[in-house]
Symmetry: C3
Subunit: 342 residues, 3 copies
């Protein structure tokens, strides 16, 4: 068979490195599309001059766009036969991606655990994106439940990797040259610095965006994520497509500008849950909670750890029911570090 | 509160200059998206070679794209609490915007008049867009009705600015170097020169485009106009969003290519009314009426003053009822100057 | 009348050369949009580095994007009054199109044959696209049925051009420098070479994409194809628009990556039929059949002749009924040559 059947649980082994296909060059086109698809307004990604005044050579491609490209490349090799995405950890941005760069990615299998049913297992991978100079631009760990094809295949020795619950702020990689000493709060849109946010503070980002099929498909294709569930309406009676979870992350992150305009760069994602599926017609809103603050080693730059919650209706600041499960209106619960002026 | 509450009527004073946030760099990406979102075919904005043959260094970003970006930046500061946009005047394009340029904008409050209800007032601003060299690229006056938050705030002294009903052709700013002496009418698509249009002549632009939610939202986000009414379907029972008036202007202007292919550049907008709201599913058509002709000081270049009317059905060339009000199928009534070959 | 009425059958004569309007410059924006609109993953069009490793100066614009632009320019002059597109032949790609290039096109009338009804006739044209150096980038023959306006106009002498049923592989134009000797099959996504495909072999490309109105309109506008049937919903009771046939070609070609990842470049289209119309809501799938293999004169490069069939449901590998007519689920039947590693 010439087409890609994807890997099944028994096809993975710990230590295996899978080099993903189809490197991708980015340009101002990807940048413009990111702004057309999401209400993105963080100044560092909008203005070359603002980026240069912050010590970078030019305005990079949005951090989440870099994530989506690196992630998208891994889909045909890693998650084609996945039943469920179970989690993320230790996502770190290592180097900005600029127009003209070409990204590829590879994944190392770092854990395997067959489920007691014998029909599925959990696969843990660390995926790393590289630019055209073979320098890493970002990395993340994810784990998912994958079907077995040959149920007679023996269970592998169980290896469950230890990942950090939270990326230590000292492990955040600050882009070379980043300097917020001369930050223009007026141009950025808000006056709030790291020190203006209190741990425990919560922000309702107010605005909402109603999602369209055409938009999430354009976004998901742009990252060359070809998981058929996002494009093919025929399996569902209502003709809807399951929206790529990363589309919800980007939408919520962009909406969070209103109250977090200075949370310019994403340093790390500590953890993330896609609590409920998102469909066209849902109106996505977002709220944030300040989880921690930290110092980092760059002039004028500090770090804020945030919970970013995306919802489709429902009250802001509600998250889980008495049973400890996410309420039905919660789409995303993301724990991440941002870099912002002190 | 960390989120932006917007300004209320009592927060403005005449002479105040508001510097708008989030500068924006443009590239070939914005240009390609403009062509994907509107049926734009004016050759000067489509071909670098055509632009160079017309004396410009390169093909600029569409004039209306420049307007949308400059306008979009002003929304969070100026019109978040606006009840109604009441009018435009004295919009002039001062300098073409090229891929690689970064735009920011600022607004000066030039008039204030509290309404007799005491609950709202009219705010007049002159908004100017600047490129990365702090050179102005365009300017316009607009006025809108804005809510008071504190009803006890005293009424300001009424100041109503005098704006020109029509930009004098001698005030049109011709881009440096513009020269239509060697204009290629074949490549541009039509043979008609300024002198071929008679004052009073009317042109039905024939074609129609049915509007989709995904398209107007992508367009409006691309200009970083985050007015929630364009994105959030929840306030309306029919799940529709109010379409940004600028989307209708761009659509009508692009449709007007068929009959006005040589109306290459917009010199000024004299006045504009969004006569009725536009919603997804409407099929936008356009017709034009020639209002005036003028000479300008550039080789081979002349000016034509046009009325551009966008409709959603209804007969062409019908505009207002016997009561003097716009008929329900009229979306836009725009009075503007174009630059075209003599 | 200032608007374009289009040409009628009696307005054509054999030998006439029509220079089409509105040259178009392309950039990374067009490239990014192509990837947003189609699930395109062929590495040569995705990565500058992959293209350079294949001997090209940079990653070109997708071959089908070049076709769409050249074709789109011809619509106002050639097919505005066409009743039906009847066929394509001898489409050849002559030179890659790169970001920064500007395309224009012209058509030569190579055949005319009035129908026995006296109300319509068949017009045959050879359309050629040129870049800014006046070098041809592609050419194709198409023929369509066009209405007469003046039924009294005399029938022209019938001239029916002889076109090749299949482009001879020796007539394929290989881009200067193309070299697949050091081809990285891992980065390209599949291990299959020309020699791995057997004549008669059929491949079901598995994936499906449900089509949205917003997407096909953005695509069609991007190529400046302004045929109103693709944009104006009002003529049809169901509010749908007829989808540009080229949108289906691009969708099917992108879907064929899964099984034909190394079919990097299109060399020629031998013939193509839009078997049934495509509408929003249809889920497009694709299958291919290997028709021939050939050698070409470039290091490491070979040619494969393929049938590419797009469907909207129905079983793969079914094409025509017992009456010899296309089955209702078949959208496209395309016969084309690709260049791939040997």
């Amino acid at each position: 068979m010439k087409t890609n059947p994807g890997r099944f649980f028994e096809d993975y082994e710990v230590g295996q490195v899978i080099r993903h296909a189809v490197p991708r060059s980015v340009s101002g086109g990807e940048r413009a599309l990111y702004h057309a698809l999401y209400p993105a307004r963080h100044a560092l990604y909008s203005s070359n001059e603002f980026a240069r005044a912050s010590g970078l050579p030019d305005s990079p491609i949005d951090d989440m766009a870099a994530f989506h490209i690196v992630f998208g490349k891994s889909v045909p090799d890693i998650s084609l036969n996945a039943v469920a995405n179970l989690g993320y950890a230790e996502a770190r941005w290592l180097r900005p991606v600029y127009p003209g760069d070409t990204l590829r990615s590879e994944s190392e299998v770092i854990g395997l655990k067959q489920n007691s049913s014998g029909k599925t297992g959990v696969v843990y991978v660390r995926t790393t994106g590289f630019n055209q100079h073979d320098l890493p631009v970002m990395e993340f760990v994810r784990w998912m439940m994958v079907r077995k094809n040959n149920l007679d295949a023996p269970a592998p020795e169980a290896v469950v990797p230890q990942t950090a619950a939270v990326v230590d702020p000292s492990d955040l990689v600050i882009p070379a040259g980043l300097d917020f000493s001369h930050y223009d709060f007026g141009l950025a849109g808000e006056p709030h610095r790291v020190g203006d946010y209190e741990v425990g503070e919560r922000i309702d980002h107010v605005d909402g965006v109603t999602i369209e099929e055409a938009e999430h498909m354009m976004a998901t294709r742009l990252w060359q994520n070809t998981s058929k569930t996002h494009f093919d309406a025929t399996p569902r009676a209502d003709g809807k497509r399951l929206i790529y979870g990363g589309h919800v992350i980007s939408m919520a992150r962009a909406l969070s500008f209103n109250g977090l305009a200075n949370a310019q760069m994403i340093g790390a994602i500590n953890a993330g849950s896609h609590a409920n599926p998102c469909f066209a017609g849902d109106t996505v809103r977002a709220w944030s909670e300040v989880l921690d603050r930290a110092e980092v080693d760059a002039p004028g730059v500090g770090a804020l750890r945030l919970r970013l919650v995306a919802t489709k209706g429902g009250e802001a600041f509600t998250l889980k029911g008495e049973d400890g499960k996410y309420l039905p209106h919660v789409l995303l619960d993301l724990d991440y570090w941002v870099l912002m002026p002190v």
